[in-house]
């Protein structure tokens, strides 16, 4: 286990080294907050509520969703890159489980992302835009648990896409595709409950809603009572299912390496 923590730590150090990227993403997040702020103010210009949500509740949902979305993907890109460049062949001979190494490297990056971006942005969100805090401490705990599950689902899903690099070269296209689908169907842009009914049923059948919508709806109180347990159970099932699928696909993919590498 210790070696995996070392991976996490080293990737934290690496991501801390690129300060230009830090400032660039900071600037970009502020821009996003600004766009959201003005866009939703314009949306609410002629009405006080949309789908039972007030402007403040909507901004709370959108901004918390933006924070959660920042954590749901990552490991897949690096995985795809190493597959494409052939480093994977060497990696497979090393004394650790490659997929776990990638996951821990990714968590290291996410930890530094949290400290360097989520916290300062959270301060802006709470004190400048004044979004709502969670309703109760218990709600906060459920939110964190659900967000953690969402992060696992997102990570597994991302790696599933990354492994596709064994079969297709232009993984960039697949990644854009994945981002688009996740951004929309995870409820990161707008609460899924505002979708037309048919789109809602599609969304709830996909794992993406368990990445962002589930935790954020618990935070904002759109999911309450027994439904919270139900939601978390569904998330756990998705996480387990994707994990199994990931392993199956990985074992298939590794065979392919042996064939090529001879």
């Amino acid at each position: 286990m210790r070696k995996y923590w070392m991976f996490a730590k080293s990737s934290m150090q690496i991501s801390a080294a690129y300060s230009a990227w830090y400032w660039a993403s900071m600037a970009t997040v502020i821009l996003k907050l600004l766009i959201m702020f003005y866009f939703w103010h314009a949306v609410y210009q002629n009405q006080s509520s949309i789908g039972q949500l007030t402007l403040k509740e909507m901004l709370t949902y959108i901004i918390v969703a933006m924070f959660v979305q920042g954590f749901v993907s990552g490991a897949g890109n690096e995985l795809a890159r190493e597959i494409k460049q052939g480093q994977i062949a060497v990696e497979l001979m090393r004394p650790y489980h490659y997929l776990f190494k990638m996951i821990f490297m990714d968590f290291g990056q996410k930890a530094s992302f949290f400290i360097r971006e989520t916290i300062p942005m959270g301060l802006i969100a709470f004190f400048v835009i004044q979004i709502n805090p969670p309703g109760s401490p218990l709600q906060l705990i459920f939110f964190l648990a659900s967000a953690a599950l969402g992060l696992w689902i997102g990570t597994f899903f991302d790696m599933l896409i990354g492994i596709l690099a064994f079969w297709t070269v232009n993984i960039w296209g697949v990644q854009v595709l994945k981002e688009g689908v996740i951004t929309f169907f995870s409820g990161a842009l707008i609460p899924i409950t505002l979708f037309p009914a048919w789109l809602q049923s599609i969304s709830f059948a996909l794992p993406s809603q368990a990445m962002v919508f589930s935790p954020v709806a618990i935070y904002t109180g759109q999911i309450t009572g027994m439904d919270i347990y139900w939601t978390i159970a569904v998330q756990a099932i998705w996480a387990a299912a994707l994990y199994i699928l990931l392993n199956v696909l990985w074992n298939q993919a590794i065979k392919k390496v042996t064939i090529f590498g001879g």
Partner: protein
Amino acid sequence: MKRYAKLYYLFAKNHIKVMLEYRIDFLIGMVSVALQQAAGVFFLAVVFGHIQELNGWSFYELLFIYGIAASGRAIHHIFFDNLWTLGWQYIKPGQLDRLLIRPINPFFHVCADRLQQDGFGQLLIGWIILGTAIPHLHLSWGLFEFMMLIVLVISSGVIFVAINLFFASLSFWMTDSMPVLWAVFNLSDFAKYPLTIYHKGLQFFLTWIIPYGFTAFLPAAWFLDREGYASVAIKAPVTAAAAMTVAYLFWLLGLKNYSSTGS
């Protein structure tokens, strides 16, 4: 000029040969970029399922803005996408030196090195969005309007290129300006919505400092509200030309300042 046209043709032909080797990837790339656009349109459709208008602009008017942005961006994406890689593919590994000793304009060379096929998907989607929006807008279309649409979309594309060229040129001083380029490019997200929803200072910034306003909203507003935005028709191409000149001069300045990384 003729020589450059011929060169571009040769570069593109080679690129297309490579592309055809990976037909599936080509299709995936096209479809993905198209779907990415569709996600934005879906989002607007959902929002407009609950409201009538956004700050006085209707759903189809917003689609129209989207369509112009997508078409303009596609021009930049297809032909000038390689500017993104100036820092890490040319300057950092010393590849630029190789281009500098050739008897070809280095700006042309960098751009011609890659034709980004995914951009065709974006262009197609841009046209589909425009084609969907236009019949709902009750505009009268004559030859003049049609020509204006082409001029404004090209201006939009040129402004995208100019802004990217300017910030990519920073790589001459900081080795790789990709983070800056990326942060600035994200500003174009503002232009997807009517500028009227933003604070006055922000509107000014997006019109005259980093002119993304001219890539989508202002050209669209020329069609939708000619009373208020009549002067855009001439301002947009002029701004595009001015922005491109400034960016190209900045690129030349960078090139003059450039000393190889030596690797």
